[in-house]
Symmetry: C2
Subunit: 437 residues, 2 copies
């Protein structure tokens, strides 16, 4: 080794330590609810080693607030942020376009990125993590799943010593709010949705939430972080909660259960079983106790058993806490550590075909022989009926009743339901929900 | 800067990176339930960057197992471990003596320490953390509170962005087991304790658990980690669960509550309110749902609100998961980072004087005027009675009844109870439990 290279190594190491000594310059890209909460926490708590220097937003002038230092630069040109001496970009604009492009450019220009963007990480996480590693930058996404609940760091670090095999949770507060309202107020899905929209819990276009696409992105991230399995979110079954009716909560109650939108992932040697769908959960499960907009994640490890993380899954402040926690962790080791790069996720084929008990709710025109017709079809498929419930007091023309099935593969039930769908006493398609045991 | 110092800096930096490249040598000190679980996980999972090299135990020969590599050195001389090229010592012997001395010597001889020892960290944590920082070594203690539940890292890192103001939890599985058994089986404290001892959940001398000393040490660690307040564990009120009788669960149920050993800490600008005591918790609280040996910690932050961590608080495997998680984190950044040293805990005076509702259970010889006598005393102290319950069916000579009080300072209640203790209709001292709202 020549002295020149020795000296330059020393200098660069000196530079590194000067980076760790001076505060990191932080830019917030997107000054909506979460972005302004991040700014608020940074200004109220002033965590060591972090200084807010830039805020980007479209039409930024209408966003300007008086409670931030004069020194903060407000801009509506992302180029300003990318060209500036910013160390960490907080990306809270959401969506894929232009977020993906901007995050790539930020990393390539030598900036770390802290993001709350679940779709971005679910779809482009591996590529962006690689890019960050190549550029010696951090890319963290603790806020992308379950807002303020520190589940990403919990799975990645706190439970690193375990071998996690299963994850299960309530990852979408909007769905949970709607379902708990159908349950407690006995109102229809449409009414509960309108209520959630009025309160600002649901978007004008609610599909992302109620059809499970939001939770599916989060489940993809959890599976990668906790189970170390990489999967394409599009391959994960996502079923809407829109078919749930108040009567389903009445029947669920007879089974000592309630209904929640459950995201599940289970890893075997050759398959990732995963789905997001309305599911019956036992009243004694912590999942049943999750009310309103709360979130909960339960992990099962080979050694440590079940661990539960619960709290506020959304909202400006809880999400901002996760972002600031990521910022603090970067401030504490600004020089990226090679070892932490390891993204050891293994790609596995994805299946929705869990083995479980099933809850089937039919609406029929009442006539003799209905149960016999259904039982014949299940029998042919080798499926055992576990129980039959028919509550009194409903019109004969649209009579709800419920059959539960003993544990079997979901695909087998789907196949039987294909045959059943042709029976002419059905008033509407059968609702098929797994029962979580 | 001379070339010599430049070169030596480079060499030392090269040495550092070679440390991070080679696996860290790990010694397990104490090969009981937890120690052997750590060895098992290290040998089954072989996490990158860690190699088990030494096992210490008294009379080590009887401990030797056949499922570890031949290369592991078994010893009953702690000097062997301290003198060897060991990078991390896992301390799982428990207690203060000789653990404190050995941990100090390990750190001084250039070793990092991972410990599950709550008493050690509660009493000597600040001193040992300072010593570790001075010697550029890690001292981690994720396993010291709530076993496999990653609450230490959750508070320290995952919620670093928040300002936590309150912690509350069930930190002792033995007490929780005993209380849930009194509740479900209607047996006495003594019977439930004997049961727990038979099952190996309680020690022959159960005082550490049932009198709250174990939970108090854990609460001290949580307050330091989460609230950034340092306190002497001896100053925290610890009350035994041994006075709880089955009848208390019956009355608690009338109040829609159950009874748990609750550890609480709340930080104000000038005081740390803290206590460990049997407490009434509402049936809808996550605390009420904690059954058997489980643990739960709930933190409240100024920005993120309530976050819950729950799971297996004890047992070989869950505790070992926490230890291996700490080991992995050290392996990922073996060179200790100066920023992480910050132990910014502030010393505050400790008070048990929470303002809360109170549950008072009396056993009396029945006679006229009892309620009037009690009411007079409470009235004089300015305490308002909230409700009075007297269930039928008990002997007149030892009649249980319950008074609940409106929110007031615990000290005020204690003072009134001093006067009450002199009343001659009391068959035994009044049981005074706070009600958590």
């Amino acid at each position: 080794m020549t002295n020149v290279s020795a000296e330059s190594a020393v200098l660069s190491s000196a530079r590194d330590s000067s980076v760790s000594a001076r505060a990191l310059n932080v830019a917030i890209v997107g000054f909506g609810t979460v972005g302004s909460s991040v700014a608020r926490i940074l200004s109220e708590r002033s965590p060591a080693g972090l200084r807010l220097t830039h805020i980007f937003n479209r039409k930024v002038e209408r966003k300007r607030v008086d409670w931030l230092p004069e020194s903060v630069r407000w801009t509506d040109d992302i180029g300003d942020v990318l060209a500036a001496e910013v160390d960490v970009v907080v990306e809270v604009i959401g969506g894929l376009d232009p977020a993906a492009d901007w995050v790539r450019r930020a990393i390539k220009s030598g900036k770390s990125v802290v993001t709350a963007n679940k779709q971005l990480i679910a779809r482009h996480g591996p590529e962006l993590l690689r890019l960050a590693a190549e550029n010696n930058q951090h890319l963290t996404f603790g806020a992308s799943v379950a807002g303020g609940i520190p589940v990403i760091s919990g799975l990645q670090e706190g439970l690193a010593g375990d071998e996690l095999v299963q994850l299960c949770g309530i990852l979408n507060g909007t769905c949970n709010y709607i379902l708990t309202r159908i349950q407690s107020a006995g109102i229809s899905f449409d009414e509960a949705l309108r209520e959630a929209q009025k309160l600002g819990f649901a978007e004008a276009n609610p599909s992302e939430d109620v059809d499970g696409l939001d939770a599916r992105a989060k489940l993809t991230i959890l599976a990668r972080t906790g189970l170390r399995v990489s999967a394409d979110p599009n391959e994960i079954l996502a079923r809407s909660i829109s078919a749930i009716e108040p009567v389903d909560f009445e029947y669920a109650k007879l089974l000592d259960c309630t209904i929640r939108q459950i995201s599940r992932a289970e890893k075997t040697s050759d398959t990732l079983f995963a789905s997001v769908q309305p599911t019956l959960v036992h009243a004694s499960s912590p999942l049943a106790a999750v009310e309103g907009g709360q979130n909960l994640v339960m992990s099962t490890g080979k050694f440590g058993g079940e661990t539960v993380f619960a709290g506020h899954g959304a909202g400006g402040n809880p999400t901002a806490v996760a972002i600031v926690s990521d910022l603090i962790s970067i401030a504490q080791s600004p020089t990226r550590n090679g070892a932490a790069v390891s993204d050891a996720a293994v790609p596995l084929p994805v299946s929705f075909d869990f083995i479980s008990r099933h809850y089937l709710r039919f609406f029929v025109k009442d006539e003799p022989g209905i149960i016999a017709a259904l039982a014949t079809i299940f029998c042919r498929s080798g499926i055992n009926i576990d129980s039959v419930f028919q509550k009194p007091g409903y019109p004969k023309s649209r009579l709800p009743f419920v059959i539960t099935l003993e544990p079997c593969k979901t695909s087998l039930v789907e196949e039987a339901l294909q045959h059943i769908s042709k029976l002419d006493f059905l008033v509407q398609p059968c609702l098929n929900l797994p029962i979580l045991d």
